[in-house]
Symmetry: C2
């Protein structure tokens, strides 16, 4: 059955004789921006090696982009180019559609039409899946097509595959990930150079690590999209982005990074999802982590995801979370997966969200008030006797116990000073209640700064 030779790409075969590739699988690519361009380039450069893995050549036959000039430039005449993406999802010759347009608008329409037309879909669109994934996966199931999305979370790190297939023996307990490179770059620079958020953001924008409008990254929305998808995979629940708690890093003070370091912690923007007896925690916020943890030492724009399973314990996955070729690596891995599996009985393929569609759990997402974690508090207090006693009394009344306290000496000629406290685990509503009472004390100036702290291991 294998008769024709791989014709796409320029790699010369280094493998043993007798290998001749079969009919190519045809791909329509929607969007030839950074990731689309990377996908085109890598698929062409590594065509021979990818074919040897997939068993068939994977060939981009048509590219759709509004910018025809760019599309023509990138593809260099190697395939058809169109500005009509809808013609691609309706093209009878196309087996797999790669959606790299982004957003919830036309991207959703195109994905749904591709599925309706019986195309398999590969997408890097976390925003779309986190918000409309349930509808999309349902449609795909009804049409017996695959929707693959490794590139939607942590770029080139095969974390979707690890959770969906590599850890299937486990009752997954929690996942915590550095899944936004922009914010990790900013936090690394703030710590390293002692600079303010605003200063580093400007630098990150200049270097291309942050967008002109960085809101989605710095406010945690992008990380929340990703942890929403990981949460569904880990616990076999529908995606529930609208229930996620989201707090970014734009209000983070450089002083807190410094104090955290003095206490042996680093501050990272983590996406966290955790199974509890009452429901699932789903949250994104700046988090203190012990500095000795491997994940605390993930610097710059790198990503890392820590998964705790009941059998395997903690496993960690680390790599580049963004960029043209790292993200293309994940897109193409999905293309190979689809190529390898698309002829399989749909009942026996790997399910989209790791669990069989008829075996999904309906676990509630906990309100933030009901989340349990530890806390870092920074207060501006009068430097006078009894202040610490007043504050610890309030915490004790809320049954919050204290793990560590730093009281700074007041500066020359000052009467106020910084008081930093770490608490043991408690409910968010208890700490909030305590903070209201603490802020009402006459000896406490202004607002209390509250950050969450996770030990992430023993």
């Amino acid at each position: 059955m294998k008769t024709s030779k791989a014709s796409f790409g320029e790699g010369s075969p280094e493998h043993s004789e007798g290998y001749a590739a079969t009919k190519p699988i045809n791909v329509g690519l929607l969007g030839i921006g950074t990731v689309g361009g990377g996908t085109f380039t890598v698929l062409q450069r590594n065509a021979e090696e990818i074919t040897r893995r997939a068993g068939r050549p994977i060939r981009i036959t048509v590219v759709a982009d509004r910018n025809l000039e760019l599309a023509n430039k990138v593809t260099g005449g190697a395939c058809r180019v169109t500005d009509d993406a809808f013609s691609v999802v309706a093209d009878p010759e196309v087996d797999i559609v790669i959606e790299l347009i982004g957003g919830y608008g036309v991207a959703k329409e195109l994905v749904m039409k591709a599925i309706a037309n019986g195309k398999h879909v590969v997408t890097a669109n976390k925003a779309l899946l986190a918000t409309h994934g349930n509808e999309i996966f349902k449609a795909a199931q009804d049409k017996n097509v695959m929707v693959a999305f490794e590139a939607a979370v942590a770029g080139g790190i095969p974390i979707i595959k690890a959770v969906r297939e590599g850890l299937t023996a486990n009752r997954i307990e929690w996942i915590a990930g550095i899944i936004n490179g922009t914010t990790n770059f900013i936090l690394s620079e703030m710590r390293d150079k002692g600079l303010s958020f605003d200063t580093v953001l400007k630098e990150a924008q200049r270097l291309g690590y942050a967008e002109a409008d960085p809101t989605f990254d710095i406010e945690g929305v992008d990380a929340a999209h990703k942890i929403t998808i990981l949460s569904a995979l880990a616990f076999g629940t529908p995606v529930q982005f609208n229930k996620a708690y989201i707090e970014g890093i734009s209000k983070l003070d450089a002083a807190d990074i410094k104090y955290a370091e003095q206490l042996g912690y680093r501050i990272k923007l983590l996406g966290i999802t955790k199974r509890t007896p009452e429901g699932v925690e789903l949250r994104v916020h700046p988090t203190l982590i012990p500095a000795k943890r491997l994940i605390a030492n993930v610097e710059g724009a790198m990503n890392a995801v820590l998964v705790q399973g009941d059998a395997v314990g903690a496993t960690l996955y680390y790599g580049k979370g963004a960029g043209a070729e790292p993200t293309a690596s994940a897109v193409i891995a999905d293309l190979v997966d689809v190529t390898r599996m698309h002829t399989a009985d749909p009942e026996n393929r790997v399910p989209h969200l790791a669990f069989q569609p008829n075996a999904m759990a309906d676990l509630p997402i906990l309100a933030m008030d009901d989340v349990t974690t530890s806390y870092y508090l920074r207060l501006r207090v009068q430097d006078q006797p009894g202040v610490l006693a007043d504050i610890t009394r309030i915490l004790a009344d809320e049954q919050i116990s204290i793990d560590a306290v730093i009281q700074k000496e007041p500066g020359e000629g000052e009467t106020q000073t910084d008081l930093i406290m770490l608490t043991h685990q408690t409910r968010e509503k208890r700490i909030n209640a305590a903070i209201v009472k603490i802020e009402a004390l006459g000896v406490v100036a202004g607002k209390v700064t509250k950050l969450r702290l996770e030990e992430l291991g023993k």
Copy 2:
């Protein structure tokens, strides 16, 4: 088509209504030692969750072990028990055989018989696959059955899956892994406590981190089995264990760990495989790594594997490399994979060694003489003028350039001292030629200590 309810295990369903499992897939387990016991326990404890993922209950129907008393104790009457493993691989009721006996003898015979009888095989046996894998995979291909072996490398870390499926877009450039927990534990303790190899080995044996006969671990044989398998997966070559260069840690001097640290490096036992224009490097030896690398900070019995791909860059995978439940996690992930995929057209399943059987490459494994790396040299020299000049002249003659030198002050009343040098990259044969000449110098006492050094990234 889904009519009967999952009956194995005690988990109560938490998922939505209407889910009823179909016919179980039947597993015969060979060997109920540490990993076998862990597999039985986890499969029972997480039965409900695993079934929801796999789409069918996965049921151990028979356990074979020479120790019937142990087998009866572990299984507690939940399945049949026999001391005749050959009856299991011939049992018409068994769909999948798990081989956890180990070694190349009866284990090989059983695996080959299971395949001949049309059973899928899951094994943790790296020694068997590294030495007889080509024959086993060929037999499996001929009989259209799967041989899955996630547990053979790095225990619970899904590294086989990552390389075989997660990184298929990439031309893999190299893999470097801490893939033996015993030796990493020993090296961590030697560094941490400044103790000798012999002292720490005894401690490791007392704590159960090293076997009574630790040869396979400490001499690097176990790591070589594992890197042999990873090398085949990465480059699409047959397994070639007999070509691997293997050097363990039993001759490692605590002084070198200390000097390495002063130079900013940690010493780890790495399994390394690298693609070069002349062939594939395949080697295991103690290696200096920059202390700031994440993998240099993997301590105790933990494992980590770093994979460099041309598109994704470096990705790292970290977790427990041994133990009952971590290894069981990998065994069961394979069971779920086989359950999900065994009905698929064999042409379209994931190939055993990542590349299609008819597309394997026949790359040579390089002799150690032709390997290129950097070196750490420690020499005992007379503390007199001209010594360094003599030595650097010899290195220059071999075109070896020097990256760093430490010359210690001689101890009180001593006339000799330690000279430590780091070189830039060179061929192993060049450094060996230089060492012969250096050892012939009158001012150099005894043998030169040579260790290899890898930067593992920029």
